[in-house]
Symmetry: C2
Subunit: 251 residues, 2 copies
């Protein structure tokens, strides 16, 4: 009779989405698709008109997106799409990598078979994506990594990772027009298959190694040229990445 406390009943039918959620999704896709660029202002009035919701749900949606790191709000000065500096990219990348590693260490080999299903499905969707919508394809790739992190069954870890992944998508959206078609989608799906296989085999160390070489480091160098705002840390880190890349190319 599963008399839960009400907070976490496992719903069979999805709850009707609230306007706030719909507004958040719409805004998020506007940002991640590159329709809105970092630094763009987000006046509430025009957005309510554009999205067809009132200010209350819109403000709630903006608060969600702020938590996700996609927008920043200044008191009495409104919200803008989060501007990205080189230091931000350094932060996003280092933290995200670390979280992914922790997730693998905690979660592989996998405790519950069901979590692997999610990973399989995410890969299937990534493989099946045929259209040439680059934004959607990027999203699916991130969804796969999210499922990978989900293997640990660690809600907070997964949530942090998701937030950082979104910010990374924002970073890519910013540069998309310039780097269109950097790699084809089939190549990208193929690049992810080994990760799936290693996870299914429960090979923790193999997975850790594979992930270290999986990151799209070429993208990073590309991104560096399109932003400013270096910090001492980020400058050193980018230099290191560059060195590693050249080393691996030489070999």
């Amino acid at each position: 009779m599963n008399s839960d406390k009400g907070a976490d009943v496992d719903r069979r039918i999805a709850a009707p989405p609230t306007m706030s959620v719909l507004a958040a999704e719409a805004l998020r896709s506007m940002i991640l698709s590159g329709e809105l660029l970092p630094g763009d202002r987000l006046p509430e009035n025009s957005l309510t008109a554009q999205l067809g919701v009132s200010r209350s749900p819109l403000r709630e949606a903006m608060s969600v997106l702020e938590q996700e790191g996609l927008i920043v709000q200044a008191p009495r000065r409104g919200a803008i799409v989060a501007p990205l500096t080189a230091h931000d990219i350094y932060e996003i990348y280092t933290l995200r990598e670390q979280l992914e590693e922790l997730a693998i260490r905690l979660g592989v080999p996998v405790a519950e078979e069901a979590r692997l299903d999610r990973l399989r499905e995410a890969f299937a969707r990534l493989e099946a994506a045929t259209g040439d919508d680059q934004t959607e394809h990027t999203r699916l790739a991130f969804e796969f990594h999210l499922a990978l992190v989900g293997l640990a069954g660690h809600r907070r870890l997964e949530e942090s990772f998701r937030s950082l992944s979104l910010q990374m998508q924002l970073c890519m959206a910013m540069n998309r027009r310039a780097r269109a078609g950097l790699e084809t989608m089939k190549e990208d799906a193929a690049r992810h298959r080994p990760l799936l296989d290693l996870a299914l085999a429960g090979d923790r160390d193999g997975l850790l190694v594979a992930l270290r070489n999986h990151g799209q480091r070429t993208f990073l160098l590309y991104a560096e040229e399109h932003v400013d705002g270096h910090s001492p840390e980020s400058r050193a880190w980018f230099a290191e990445v560059r060195a590693q890349l050249e080393g691996s190319e030489a070999s």
Copy 2:
């Protein structure tokens, strides 16, 4: 003339706090002081009456606290103080420890002298706390650790760490009445001094080792008995913690 874009001017005079911020602070302290316990419902009407603000700023405050992990909201069902299971404690502790370690690896030795000032000040405040307000003392200890993590100059890392620290304070608030005066404040301040010294000396490895033995693991075992909701992962992890503790006691 420092013509910033408006988003991040470094203000000399503090911006007048908004009602939302005040409400968030009030709510947070109500939760962390143990006045509200995990699972308690938070109806908007009674809270607006209690805090003297309208529903809009209150809702925004609740959204902030949800992001901090102190409360959880269910659509159309309102908010409750975040209930903590053993699995939650496992999540909070593992992730927090990992973030702290990453911060030290990235941030020590320290790049900018000014960051050390913050750490010194945090320690001074911790040492100077004489009153017997346990909640406040706990807060100051966490503030010290936050400053330690802040050495890395990694905003996102620090923010995640802060959120997890708040949740840990919630966990402690839950058990406070039972474990009152588990250790005196002077002892606690003394326990933190080596961390400060190691950070000032720029001794990264020494700091990492010290931190590994610094965590209040006895508290964890105590907490375990006051919650339910174990997962396979959390059960194994708690067992490991217990084993380590007994091992170190024996030696």
